[in-house]
Symmetry: C2
Subunit: 262 residues, 2 copies
Amino acid sequence: MLNTATPITAPTLVRAMAANAAPVSTVDTTAHERASQHVADTLKLLSDQLALQRRVAHAGDVIYQAGERFSHLYILNAGFFKIVNLSPDGREQLVGLKFRGDWLGFDGIANGQYACDAVAMDTGEIWSVRYDALLAACAVRPQLLQVLHAAMSREIARDRDSLMSVCTLPADARVADFLRYWAESLAKRGLRADQITLRMTRAEIGNYLGMTLETVSRALSKLVREEVIVFLDKGRREVHIPDVGALSVFVQRCIAPAVTLQ
Amino acid sequence: MLNTATPITAPTLVRAMAANAAPVSTVDTTAHERASQHVADTLKLLSDQLALQRRVAHAGDVIYQAGERFSHLYILNAGFFKIVNLSPDGREQLVGLKFRGDWLGFDGIANGQYACDAVAMDTGEIWSVRYDALLAACAVRPQLLQVLHAAMSREIARDRDSLMSVCTLPADARVADFLRYWAESLAKRGLRADQITLRMTRAEIGNYLGMTLETVSRALSKLVREEVIVFLDKGRREVHIPDVGALSVFVQRCIAPAVTLQ
DNA sequence: CGCCACTTTGAATTAGCTCAAATTCCGTGG
DNA sequence: CCACGGAATTTGAGCTAATTCAAAGTGGCG
């Protein structure tokens, strides 16, 4: 624990955003198409009702920064982004990862200024909407308000799950659970969930999970050793997950009271 | 770390809710009255526009439970409540503490059912409002929507701060920061901030902060030894904080690179 | 080809955990 | 009023998971 050591601000590699946005083309298309459709519906609802501004972001681009005056909310149409919290004394903490369909900027509503940084981890497309314009549109289209609230609600629930993971799971399990959550997120968005491109360094993963980069590395090695994951590339950033269930099993084994074999 | 050991569900003592809701009567009344007024304004705005249901809750009372069908949001008028997250495998995690003016139930919006338990820690008063009625009222009174969004936004920002605290601070600093945050919360609500009644067991505090109850106890003892806090009662539940700034200094000293005295 | 950032792995250290025992507190009932 | 019992707390001692420090390996890019 104690993330103070390695800074996590360094940008990562630029990858084709197609990799993140490409829908799956496997047997079980219906489920994936449904999930993908949900995101598409939301995005359509927004663009029908509002003047959305669209822009492409590249790895390292800062969407908004802590302290900046709040005015817009952002919806991710493609790409992968991180949310970094900063403390007055200089600690930095990765508090969230965002995918297609996620909203950014809620933290700014309360105080009129954003409370953290939002940074692109690879190439992606961001739609931005003025908060006041959004509220006006919500008055006309109550369904829009539902979508907005659902997004905020999901964010709250997710943040709590993160806290629970950090507080109740040992390091190895936390890494496994992180991959499980990521795979699940991809599946929910209709993307292929058996393959994850870690667009973050070990230091960033460790910061997010409350452990050192060495511990992340050791945990990943252990997951490979136990054949729960497979690295597809020499760079060890392409994770293949043969069976997502195995990740859950691994987590359970970690928290199970040490088995007295015999 | 790893909270699995001691369960945190046991109810605590019933205390007069006046203790929590009583405004301060010291020199600096204006600031406190302003803070207190803000909460009062919000509550008035709500009751003017909506049919609020009010009820008194006692220590241990469950306001809502994970899995229960979502229908209402709750606003605390007095008292002190905890939010407990539950995992499918039985881990439980205290993910939030709520005071007067705070809202409960946002986690239920996204999935139509609450994602965690909300439990009273002492006697308090809760106002509940049907979510759909609230939305209808927001259409009439946009200011209400602002208040609602601000509450959700604050919750998101707070959850992130919690994660940062757990991930970046050593145990002693976490306990100090917890007290600092609590004192600050009281001050924001116009209550006296130099005195905190811990209506939680060491096990609950430890669960919330991601450490064992023994570590909490040792950290508190250290804070007493360093004269950052003083216990006012034999039960060691009434904490007096002579100077809130000293808590911040203590936190900084904990994370400062070990000073080579020489 | 060489540099630089990232990653892995090992070895030693330590913060925080587990286990254990003593103490205190508080409610209850005699 | 006091004795009793259970729950919570404190404190000590040893242990362990995860950290720190260190070194070697690897990959990508100019």
